[in-house]
Every structure is written in C-alpha cells, then in structure tokens.
Assembly symmetry: C2
C-alpha cells in the first residue's frame, strides 16, 4: 500500500499515449498517461471509461455529439460503445479509471496499441 | 454524458464527510467529499477504496501500519478489510473511487453514515 504522487509519476513517464498503471482496486485499474496531439478513433464495447485531466487540455471527439473539452480538474465518463477520439491540445496529463485489462485502443489495432502496462514510479 | 468540473462540484457541496456522486461506470462510483477533522474508524470488508486528494491534506490512520499522509495530487488505495480512519488536516477535498453502493462508514453505523448519495452540480 504505497501512495502515488501524480507529479512524480507523470515525471517518470516518457512516452505519449502510453498508459502506466498507478493502482488496482476491485478489478479496476487507475492509469496515468501523457497525451499529445491526436489519438485514434476507437470504442470499448463493454467498458465505460473515465478521463480526468490533471494538467493541460484534452478534447474528446465523438461521432454523434459535440466534442467535450476537458481542462485540468475536469472529468468525463465515456459510456461503453461510444466511438471517441481523444486529442490533447497540445499536451495533457490524464488519469484514467476503467476495468483492469482494458486495451487503450479498444476495438482498434493500431501502432498506438499498448498490450502491456508499465507501472508508474511515484 | 456531462463533464464534471471539480472546483464547481466542490463549491456546490456544503457538508463535511458527505460524499456526492460525480459519476458511475462499470458498477463503480466516483464520489467527491469535503473532509474536515476526524472521520470514524471503519473497514470495508470486500471493497478496496481509492482516495485522491485534490486540495488540502488527508492523513489516513491504520491500526497495523504507519499513517499515510496525502497532499493534493496524491492518491492511495486502501485494500479491503483494512481498518482505517481518515483525518483531514484541517480540511481536504477528496475524490473517491469505489464500487457503487459502498457505505461511507463501512462496517460501522455512525452519525456520519450517509445511506443516500446526492449528485454533484458541476
């Protein structure tokens, strides 16, 4: 049972769109990721996904509704099955909460797909 | 699908130790609470609980290990079955992740027990 200091954890992350595991509880995972520019369009068929922006700005684009723009200190739950594309403007630090084992690119196989999660330092 | 601005949501909460629902996903709840002073000793028998401090400082006391002290931007997962007592020093804003329906005082019935959650504005 070790606390995680978000600033230290983000400082230990080099890559972009490379979620790192910050904690697990009740079958869910808390992940941290640095975001920059455009991610890929994808959906998670059976998984709702929470985005909390801790630094920067993230726009989440949707096919069938207006974009959501999240500043630092704002969160949004994207319901399962909802196609979405996160776009960091220009960079953002993200805390994600979703079931353990959720693939970052959902139903899409991409060069951004990360099958294995590293654990954060911090 | 509405975003939650933490600052606005906390501004809408009057009580202390009165968790408000900020979102639900995958059977889990995101709750926000203002904390001040001592909570009650309790445990959640089958529920891990995440504390993220967004403002102020929270000390979490344990019976069988050293206290954890969380500043703003720090998080800790308290494993199920672990007796703990949160103490805000002197105040803190908390974001909690835990299964929907988790009672705030766990196995303990107290004047601080909240059986029904309000939903945040924000």
């Amino acid at each position: 049972m070790e606390k995680v200091t978000l600033a230290d954890a983000f400082a230990s992350i080099d890559g972009r769109w490379d979620p790192h595991l910050a904690g697990e509880l009740n079958g869910q995972a808390v992940k941290l990721a640095k975001a920059e520019g455009e991610f890929v369009w994808h959906r998670h068929e059976n998984v709702d996904e929470l985005f909390l922006v801790t630094d920067g700005r993230l726009r989440i684009e949707f096919r069938e509704r207006d974009d959501a723009v999240l500043e630092a200190g704002e969160l949004l739950v994207v319901p399962c099955g909802t196609e979405h594309r996160p776009v960091a403007e220009p960079e953002a630090h993200l805390l994600l909460f979703e079931p353990a084992g959720t693939r970052n690119t959902g139903d899409v196989e991409s060069e951004l797909t990360k099958e294995e999660l590293k654990r954060v330092d911090g």
